[in-house]
Amino acid sequence: MIVVLRHPRREIRIEGSRRVHALLAELELTREAHLVIRNGTLVPGDGLLEADDTIEIRPVVSGG
């Protein structure tokens, strides 16, 4: 799957499918600080991300 990351914007490729919480753990990203988006909507923690998906992992922490 193609994973779009932010700060700065970049893409990485992950082989195979994953549950959302497993992907976040693999990338060492905290669940509380991120949301996973597929086709314009959110995917919850146990949602299955397929190998041919394009997803965005969006950080939600702002520093103002």
Binding site: P8, L35, I37, D46, V60
Partner: protein, 323 residues
């Protein structure tokens, strides 16, 4: 995962509520939390005129969207801070949000209306950019509310913001700041009332609100804020939240319920007088308020490109790490 309310497919899991929600019932939860914050702290009513301080970020757009949806009379107020492409994008997004919904938006520019911008102010004063930014915002929000006859200024501060500020104040046991950390600051001495209706929502929830509502917002972080102490506190609190869901809410709500009332006697305002330039209330010995002094100090200074300060911050962090 199924929605706790309707058993339909969930789109978000909220560990601190030990529940999952579909979009519709997540919206319901958010509205309920915001209404509870407004009522519990007597923030404002449906007859009040509200000025929402909007930045183009998720929190300020979410709170404006929610207040309008809940039937409040809320106009927007945006300050162009002059932080390069970041400010350009945030202004475009804010203007589009207001135009698409037919909402009133007032725009003020530090550079065009006051002759400086945040990077230039940071360079001239030798202080961190967040200092000039915060000072300018506070001054201009107050002034805009006063001049526009608004009853209350609303900001998009969320649970994470408040928990991080509380954490920082408690680390230093800064009693004066702890005493002032309330979801509502009453009007007085020429200052408008200020309210934070999002204090019961985490920033993961306000971001989810925007995404599910189709609200476009500035995703990239302010280049001037990267690595600041506030972000470090949030990182620590989120690590704790991951292991113990609900910690941030318990920390903040416990403070409001049990500690804040004990600090009521410390919640006094400084003795104020009026600035001789702009007539705003101000403390200290100077006849001129801090904002007008900043305008004076930056007058005639050449604009500093934002990249110059970002590179300087980056070099300073690298040298501190000893890399």
């Amino acid at each position: 995962m199924k929605c706790r309310t309707c058993r339909g497919p969930a789109v978000i899991d909220l560990p601190r509520h030990n529940a999952n929600f579909c979009a519709e019932h997540f919206f319901e939860l958010c509205r309920r939390q915001v209404t509870k914050a407004i009522d519990e702290h007597a923030m404002f009513g449906t007859d009040d005129r509200i000025l929402v301080a909007v930045s183009g970020g998720k929190d300020s757009l979410a709170v404006w969207d929610m207040l309008v949806e809940l039937g409040y009379r809320a106009d927007g107020y945006y300050i162009a801070l002059g932080i390069g492409d970041y400010s350009e994008e945030s202004r475009e997004i804010t203007e589009r949000f207001a135009a698409e919904r037919g909402l009133a938006l007032r725009i003020e520019s530090l550079r065009d209306d006051h002759g400086f911008d945040v990077p230039t102010a940071a360079k001239v004063t030798g202080r961190v950019p967040c200092s000039a930014c915060g000072l300018s915002k506070r001054h201009l929000f107050d002034r805009a509310a006063r001049e526009g006859g608004y009853d209350v200024v609303v900001t998009g501060h969320n649970l994470d913001d408040e928990a991080a500020v509380l954490f920082g104040n408690a680390l230093r046991w800064d009693v004066e700041y702890l005493a002032r950390q309330t979801p509502v600051l009453e009007a007085g001495d020429g200052f408008p009332r200020k309210a934070k209706p999002l204090v019961r929502l985490s920033e993961r929830e306000t971001a989810a609100w925007c995404i599910l509502r189709g609200i476009d917002y500035v995703i990239e972080e302010c280049p001037m804020a990267a690595g600041n102490r506030h972000l470090q506190y949030k990182e620590l609190l989120n690590a704790l939240e991951e292991k113990s869901p609900g910690s941030k809410a318990a920390f903040y709500s416990g403070f409001l319920d049990r500690m804040s009332p004990l600090l009521a006697d410390d919640r006094r305002r400084d003795v104020l007088h009026r600035c001789v330039h702009c007539d705003s209330p101000t403390g200290g010995e100077s006849e001129v308020c801090a904002f007008c002094r900043l305008v004076e100090r930056t007058r005639g200074q050449e604009a500093v490109p934002v990249e110059m300060l970002v590179k300087k911050k980056s070099r300073s962090r690298t040298s501190r790490r000893g890399d």
